[in-house]
Symmetry: C2
DNA sequence: ATCCTGAATCCTGGATACAAAAATTACGAG
DNA sequence: CTCGTAATTTTTGTATCCAGGATTCAGGAT
């Protein structure tokens, strides 16, 4: 990291450029900030301010905005600027509908690939996840949950699947923690994860796909229940988990 | 200087007020040029030259490049520039694997929505497609085929599905015409389209999904057959249809 | 003729300054 | 308090400029 980049102020530091593109770095950092809730849904992102924070010019930042825009992580209102995408009920349902398909095909392909190393890593993730259940640790659970689902997509080794990771992370890291995260559901979810992994290990592609789809479907149902339970409080204004 | 965008030179037209962002226009035009084959796979896109062609500066063009890059339509080689993505065998299989899931969920959701107007439009598309069969017109067939599949995605009314349109158009408009387009397959495909539409009309979501998936699967099989038949001629170098 | 090497040139990635247009805010009159 | 206008921001796009990696090409050396 040649330029100061992460530090909020580094005046006069004209070091030489990094070997990689700034766009990619900026996209990465902004994505994480959105996932983590550091940038909250609806928050306005001002070019000058963010560029100054990162110690870069507006040129690569604006390119980063276009990428995030296409990710669906930010929304651009023409001539008014960019703000972090917020999640209403409709958006939430839409996201889970697509995720059911995405996670399904990922599991199917991963089962077909039989990438032993990747599957071993998934087993380790489940182990860590189980540990997050006993003294209930929602933060650790959410982190490992994301790792599991992203891990499946990586195990699928499909270059048209990786661009979907932002969708998966948005739902698994922002939507789900805020709305559908209960110990009961988590316990059930880990069991489902194990079934999915078992199917992938066995190379049973069809079963892996159906289990993965059912898993997302059940997460969504749990979310639906939460929403109707908390009915009237303004609905699903996407707030990140603390 | 709000130049007239599409014309390669239009001096004196300095009263052009663009209500929308140039990025979006540029992305749209470049996408079409890639789909149509006007920009051929592997072709290098030079910033200065394209900006000059469009009569715009490099700034919005570079933003457009980032969007197309995330679409998977162009590839960026650091410090070397961008070139139109070309399709090898691996990429092709990957694309169809994901499309099976995408088209499946689109059909399922469209069946659930029961958007009569959209379904009527699909019926009209099938009609036009049937007309393209009798005196066999590959160009018209490909066009209507794209319209059908994109139409289903629009009928699904899911905002996480629309970003997948570039993938669908890439396969349906570039890969398939070049590799899997035969009259026999087209006749069969139109029949399958009708079955899918019927299932959506009946609101049978599960059946619509399965039919749509089977349809993509069969298209892919036809493609596999073509590839192995033409084995040794260099494989699947993505050439657009004439 | 072919291969290697170093210089000239091209091009990307990034920074900066500037202008136009729209949106937001401030402010003052009624 | 409300309305309308002016001042200020902010986005969007243009025009330049620069550093340094990538390409090309000329001129030997083999």
């Amino acid at each position: 990291m040649r330029s100061a980049f992460m530090s909020t102020s580094d005046p006069g530091a004209h070091e030489w450029r990094s070997p990689i593109r700034l766009v990619d770095e900026v996209v990465k950092v902004l994505r994480e900030r959105i996932y983590s809730g550091a940038l909250r849904p609806g928050e306005v992102l001002r070019q000058e301010q963010i560029a100054a924070d990162f110690g870069i010019s507006r040129t690569p930042l604006r390119e980063a905005f276009r990428v995030l825009e296409r990710d669906g992580l930010i929304r651009n209102e023409p001539r008014r600027g960019v703000r972090v995408a917020s999640a209403d009920l409709r958006r939430l349902k839409d996201a889970y509908d697509v995720r059911e398909a995405i996670d399904g095909v990922a599991a199917r392909l991963a089962a077909g690939r039989r990438d032993a190393a990747a599957l071993d890593r998934l087993a380790a993730v489940i182990e860590a996840q189980r540990a997050a259940l006993e003294p209930w640790d929602p933060i650790a659970y959410t982190r490992t949950n994301v790792e599991f689902h992203v891990g499946i997509m990586e195990a699928a080794h499909n270059e048209f699947l990786t661009p979907q990771v932002p969708l998966v992370r948005m739902t698994a890291q922002v939507f789900t923690p805020a709305l559908a995260l209960s110990v009961e559901r988590a316990v059930r979810a880990v069991a489902e994860h194990e079934e999915i992994l078992a199917a992938m290990r066995a190379g049973d592609a069809a079963r892996a796909e159906e289990l993965a789809r059912a898993h997302i479907r059940r997460t969504r149902l749990s979310l639906d229940a939460r929403i109707s339970a908390a009915d009237g409080d303004g609905g699903a204004e996407g707030k990140a988990a603390p």
